[in-house]
């Protein structure tokens, strides 16, 4: 049953990604990208990564779509700017190069659910064993984010703060 859902949603995913490029109207592309994020969220749910799926559904499908739409109201609905031919060839070349690097990276990844892989032999069992009595949190993801990697999360929060303030300052430059 899971394999059927996987294949179905991966097909939808590729279809949505292709459609978002295919549409000339930016509004259609934005909506399709929102659907793309939703499909990714469903796929992560089937992989039991509920926290990530939650974030993807809230940020990818929710907030970014709204921000894209807010930007969309300020620009021309159909951007017919002329793209030079040699630029397109350059973009295609970069695309294939990056794709090649990504596929090269996949060969180093473990088989899905391989029990003998390094992280599955000591790190994850260790967290599962220790989290409950050390932090009292049932959700291991939250415990790792907040307790074991609390310093990292502090830095991430600071990054969000700095990014927000910088965006505010850039968009308000020249005023006051």
């Amino acid at each position: 049953m899971t394999i059927v859902i996987d294949i179905l949603f991966l097909t939808f995913l590729i279809f949505a990604a292709l459609l978002s490029i295919y549409f000339k109207n930016l509004l259609n592309s934005t909506i399709v990208l929102g659907a793309y994020s939703l499909y990714v969220a469903v796929l992560w749910t089937t992989l039991n990564a509920i926290d990530v799926a939650f974030t993807e559904a809230a940020v990818g499908a929710g907030i970014s779509t709204v921000l894209f739409l807010a930007v969309f109201t300020k620009i021309q609905p159909e951007d017919r700017s002329v793209i030079k031919r040699n630029r397109q060839i350059l973009a295609l070349g970069t695309l294939f190069f990056v794709g090649y690097l990504l596929i090269l990276g996949i060969t180093d990844m473990p088989k899905f659910g391989d029990p003998n892989w390094v992280t599955n032999t000591y790190l994850i069992p260790d967290y599962i064993e220790r989290t409950m009595h050390e932090t009292g949190a049932v959700n291991i993801v939250t415990a790792i984010l907040g307790s074991y990697r609390g310093f990292d999360t502090n830095g991430e929060t600071a990054v969000i703060f700095i990014a927000g303030i910088c965006t505010y300052l850039i968009l308000n430059r020249g005023e006051n």
Binding site: T73, E134, G136, A137
Partner: protein, 140 residues
């Protein structure tokens, strides 16, 4: 926006549920999926929906831009402040067991809740600030 009564009535009904759900996601993050980041995003989504339907000026009646900018800094300060309080109490930075008034077990649970609240406030206010800044020039 326009004076669509269906849109306005639906928003009035649905926004309180969104806000309460986001607080549930924050407070229940130790047990169920979620936490400060997701909760903050959903809380911001409630406010963004409100300002999309009623306009940014109506939003400023609830929460002014100065307060939003103050909140972005407040969240980070809460998070870092928990770290410094544990340091002042003789522990390491962010060693939740050393939060004053709590033992090891409850200190860990409360520490997680405190820092998640900090993340929640920062994420909520930054998302709202981004939306206001992007949408603002459309109004005038």
């Amino acid at each position: 926006m326009n004076k669509d009564i269906i849109l306005k009535t639906t928003t009035r009904i649905i926004v309180p549920f969104i806000l309460v759900f986001s607080l549930y996601v924050l407070a229940h993050g130790e047990i169920s999926p979620g936490g400060g980041f997701q909760g903050g995003v959903i809380f911001a989504a409630g406010f963004i929906l409100y300002s999309m339907v009623f306009g940014v000026e109506e939003l400023y009646k609830i929460i002014s831009k100065k307060v939003i900018i103050f909140l972005t800094a407040l969240g980070v300060s809460i998070y870092t402040g928990v770290g410094f309080i544990t340091m002042l109490n003789g522990g390491k930075f962010l060693e939740y067991a050393k939060i004053p008034g709590f033992d090891m077990k409850s200190g860990n649970a409360m520490g997680l809740l405190f820092i998640e609240t900090g993340v929640f406030i920062t994420v909520f206010s930054v998302m709202l600030l981004l939306y206001i800044e992007v949408a603002k020039k459309y109004d005038n």
